[in-house]
Symmetry: C2
Subunit: 237 residues, 2 copies
DNA sequence: CGGCTATTTGATGGTAGTCAAGTACCGTGG
DNA sequence: CCACGGTACTTGACTACCATCAAATAGCCG
């Protein structure tokens, strides 16, 4: 499935330092983690971990996009978040030691660093600055989940797609390499509905799109279309 | 709006000790908090705090039920969680100092203890056991939000109501003092739909209900009706 | 070129939201 | 004690949104 890659400790150090989660970690913490981290390559479509697997690693993405999703009994995929470079994959279950509640899959070829969970926990547990940051991140994740919950029960598909596009725009910029199906899984709707909604946005010149590629042409207008003021936070789960 | 109440420090101490959040806090932490806590009474319907208000207090419920909700642009209420005795109201935004993202309203007459946020943060920040527990709780909240998100986009109203009933049953027991409207706000559906679904459950002898009161008659069968294995965790936000 | 992935469009039907009207229940105050 | 107003529940009819199914088109790669 995955392939190990050679990488210098210096480079590992840089990658860890660049991750949002470890922003406020002490230099010692980072150095220790870097010395234990290993690099891996996942090909497009590979599963990085699976829902209900025990949580064995801490992961940081170096390259590529990772989809965090769940599938319902009926086989529907629902994507909870998309992780890019600098994002950690599953910070949220690391400390409890509970099994994953989402699966993670490479959307491109993905390079990531990982550290054994036990090592990770025992190293970071002593770093108070890190723990506080972690709490802060959890709070944001909860908030963003609640916002999406509101959307999911209260808003129409149209609105949910607008909000999702805006979130992706804020996180990844104006060139989004997503298929309509992927947008559907993120917005809790179907491919066909996404396409019909895109048709409307195109006629307003808010977006353009071809195969596997969406351009945000008018970010301001997109923002206006996103009611719900808060406008959605990145949602790193 | 709220009314102050006299209460002995000993009683305050007991209440704090009994809260889930502070379960693993050190004796010192609890004692310090108890000395600063004040007790308050809110009447049915009173708002305890409002979405977007700055977060000024840490709250623990002593008596009664509190609804944590949000209202969408279109005026729909969505209830994210219901807090009962021993629950804390807004742990999730305490550390970041961000404003509330949910409003809290007394569903009954409610008695709660509160401590100024700044005091609370500076006291608990030093208690590593507490921070770890807090992280653990956040993880559970995130998981429960994701589960509900799955439900909201993937399941039908019927299923969402089953899941919600089961969650309330697990948390509060077999006598639930909720109106159909409240169940609707919790499940992301309407009063009428809830009633129609209840009719089905009654004919299966799974529940009974009258005005403002739902009895779970067959918890086992209710559990079976809840697909999605995980069956939903309490969801203390 | 053929096979695959992705997009597009149309037609159809079901779920559940909305509107409306009517019933039962409760507490309160004359 | 009963009348009354408010709250909660109930049922029916209608309709919109969107999922689903189906089929056609278009770009990409070996």
């Amino acid at each position: 499935m995955s392939k190990s890659i050679e990488m210098s400790t210096t480079e590992k150090h840089e990658i860890l330092r660049g991750s949002y989660t470890l922003e406020t970690a002490s230099e010692d913490t980072i150095a220790e983690l870097a010395s234990l981290a290993t690099a891996h390559l996942f090909k497009k479509g590979d599963l990085i971990f699976r829902e209900d697997d025990p949580c064995r690693f801490f992961h940081v993405v170096k390259e590529g996009l990772v989809k965090n999703f769940k599938q319902s009994g009926s086989g529907r995929h629902f994507t909870a978040s998309v992780g890019g470079p600098g994002d950690t994959l599953n910070t949220v279950v690391l400390f409890s030691g509970s099994p994953y509640f989402l699966s993670a899959q490479a959307m491109d070829n993905v390079v990531l660093l990982r550290v054994k969970r036990d090592d990770y926990v025992s190293i970071t547990m002593e770093d108070q600055g890190y723990l506080l940051k972690q709490l802060y991140i959890s709070e944001q994740v909860v908030k963003s989940c609640c916002d999406r919950l509101m959307d999911a029960v209260g808003e129409r598909a149209e609105q949910r797609v607008y909000n999702m596009l805006h979130m992706l725009y804020a996180k990844f910029g104006s060139e989004l390499r997503f298929t309509s199906e992927e947008i559907g899984e993120l917005s809790g709707t179907t491919t066909e509905t996404v396409i019909r909604i895109f048709a409307g946005l195109k006629s307003l010149n808010v977006i353009g799109s071809e195969r596997r590629n969406i351009h945000i042409l008018n970010g301001v207008e997109l923002r206006n279309l996103c009611r719900g003021s808060s406008g959605h936070s990145p949602g790193r789960i």
